[in-house]
């Protein structure tokens, strides 16, 4: 086996997107920047005139911005959480996909935070959260949890980047100063490798409870009030499941785009999409189970204030959003992902796009109908977003994609060293691991070495 040639090939292919930028790249960046600019203009209007430029009213005090907040924080569960779980579970197929997942988390979480800032009537007083912060308020729990998660995910993205940055420092000519600084003097000594691997595994374990806590406390913002259909005990796990669900969907879409644009068919292979598709199907079922449990309990209990919200979703003002959610989150992915023939890359991407839309609708259907149907049935609000809210939604999406695209132009989107490590050690390691699962052979049981040369080396590898 000539591994060094394979490594050279990997480096060449995976560094190509960073070294070259074609016309399509500039067109994409230009278009995205235009949308982002338009979003800034819309926000400027709101900042100047007040939240009155939105479609919010009394009693629908929260609308698109809070929906976006929950949605973006949900998408952020794609990366760090999935990557950490796959790393801890030693799932070998993770190697090519962890980086693209982790980047989603770090980039999209910024827009979760931005959505909250957009929603504030007085963003200029944001410092009051620190000056007068009260831990009794679930919003403070959010601030804490999201800050930790953003920090943790950034570190967790950065650590496995270091060896790759060192490769770019040594082998590319562009932006040498940047990579020299970011590589932190990485030389690839055994001591450094040991420390890096230790740090990555510690971060992978730490980041999981934080990720779960993030979406739990996001749900608590709603569940801690006494409002009908918010005050629900399953909201924590329901939101976490929904978050991972939309997160995997976003990851599949992102991976398909990377594979298509940078022609990385050899790295992001069909098997990755198949595995993620199966994971996505598991979450389709989980999400459906939670949704069913939530709505059946409300329906069977039949409290009038709850039923007002329930019917506004089922056949009232919000029926299109509600049934749209059911189609996008259950029917489409259910049909596509349960069927091996349809679970192709195109199929999974279509299902994922449907889920992304459906999960946004789910967040909307949780936030708005409850506010529109308060307990005292005198204010009945109807909420129609204005151009400002629509522009800011488009702006957030465009800005997120823009940051993601730019990331792929600065850093390899598929981890080079992890692929190399996979080529070098993983095959033997996995074979050895499988062997430990099996019952011992006759010879091993009786202390007689009967296995061949190959098996000896494997056992040696395990011991090391």
């Amino acid at each position: 086996m000539d591994l060094s040639k394979a490594f050279e090939h990997d480096e060449k292919i995976l560094l190509k997107p960073i070294q070259e930028a074609n016309r399509n790249f500039y067109i994409t960046v230009g278009l995205l920047s235009l949308i982002v600019g338009w979003g800034f203009y819309a926000y400027f209007q709101q900042f100047q005139n007040g939240l009155g430029v939105t479609g919010l009213n009394r009693p629908v005090y929260w609308g698109f911005y809070i929906t976006n907040f929950v949605f973006f924080i949900g998408i952020s569960h794609a990366g760090t959480l999935i990557s950490a779980i796959l790393r801890i579970a030693q799932a070998e197929w993770r190697r090519a996909i962890t980086r693209s997942a982790e980047v989603i988390t770090v980039m999209v979480i910024l827009f979760g935070v931005a959505s909250i800032l957009m929603d504030l009537g007085r963003p200029d007083r944001i410092i009051n959260i620190i000056k007068f912060g009260r831990f009794q308020s679930p919003l403070l729990w959010d601030v804490t949890s999201i800050t930790i998660y953003l920090t943790g995910s950034t570190v967790y993205l950065y650590l496995p980047l270091i060896p790759d940055i060192a490769i770019m420092r040594d082998k590319t000519k562009k932006r040498k100063w940047l990579y020299t600084v970011l590589a932190l003097g990485w030389e690839g000594t055994p001591k450094q490798w040991h420390r890096l691997e230790l740090a990555i595994s510690v971060m992978a374990i730490l980041v999981i409870p934080v990720a779960v806590s993030v979406h739990t406390v996001v749900s608590f913002v709603f569940a801690m009030t006494v409002q009908p259909m918010w005050h629900s005990a399953i909201f924590g796990p329901y939101f976490v499941v929904g978050a991972i669900y939309s997160g995997i969907a976003a990851l599949i879409v992102a991976m398909a785009l990377i594979r298509w644009v940078y022609k990385l068919d050899d790295y992001l292979k069909d098997i990755h999409f198949t595995n993620l598709g199966i994971l996505l199907f598991v979450f389709t079922l989980l999400w459906t189970y939670f949704t069913f449990a939530e709505y059946l309990t409300t329906f069977y209990g039949a409290e009038p204030t709850h039923m007002a919200v329930f019917w506004s979703k089922f056949n009232g003002e919000y029926k299109y959003e509600f049934w749209g959610m059911v189609v996008c989150c259950l029917v489409i992915p259910g049909i596509i992902l349960s069927n091996r023939k349809l679970r192709t890359i195109k199929g999974s991407v279509f299902a994922s796009l449907a889920i992304t839309v459906g999960m946004w609708l789910e967040r909307f259907i949780i936030v708005v109908p409850t506010l529109a149907n308060p307990r005292l049935p005198y204010e009945r609000g109807v909420y129609h977003p204005t151009w400002v809210e629509l522009s800011l939604l488009a702006g957030c999406f465009a800005f997120f994609i823009l940051l993601y695209v730019l990331f792929t132009k600065f850093f390899p989107i598929v981890s080079i060293w992890e692929i190399a490590e996979g080529r070098k050690h993983a095959v033997a390691e996995v074979a050895g691991r499988v062997k430990t699962y099996l019952p011992d052979t006759y010879g091993e049981m009786h202390g007689v070495v009967v296995s061949g040369q190959e098996e000896k080396t494997i056992l040696k590898d395990i011991q090391q």
Partner: protein, 227 residues
Amino acid sequence: MAKWGMVIDLDKCSACQACVVACQAENNIPNSNPESAAKGRNIHWLEMIPFIEEEYPNTQMKLVPRPCMHCEHPPCIKVCPVGATQISSEGIVGQINARCIGCRYCTAACPYTVKSFNWFKPQWAKGMERALNPDVTVRYNGVVEKCTFCHHRLQKAKDKARYEGRELGPDDYIPACVQTCPSEAMYFGDLDNPKSKVAILARSRRAFQLLEDLGTHPKVIYLNEGV
């Protein structure tokens, strides 16, 4: 320590809405306009809400004046991230406009939907700014505001009583709505004093509170025959 509370006798209320007007004038509540009304963005600290019983032709309609309930256990206070809405030792739920960040969590958490948000910079018809009450802060764009039981009147009454060297009397402090009510359907006083008029009325057979079962313990008590 006093626990200020209000009793509204719906059997006496003629739904003239003088209390609403008095509240708007007393507390510098901005003028509404048809557009903001259509969007459901009018600011009201005290509002008449229609309460319709039975179907046609036996329809009975009541208009119920609804100020802030000044709950003993207010859901709005729990959720505020910056402590901009607080309950005083005398049971008045107030809003610190200068600290509010406008997240509208309190408005979303209030089961009575009595808090209002300033969607735009508040505006008055020309000339009306000169009629503003100097005792009450004019609010600004992007903050939440609410009924304070005319808290500024309590401060004034306390100052006056102190100056005159006497205790605060039962009629020294009443909110503008109660003072205005022509049919004398509204009462205000100390619920902790068992001999006060509001405490006696609150024990009446006709007494009820809005959404009693939520455990918020509202300090606005309604009286109505047959409820």
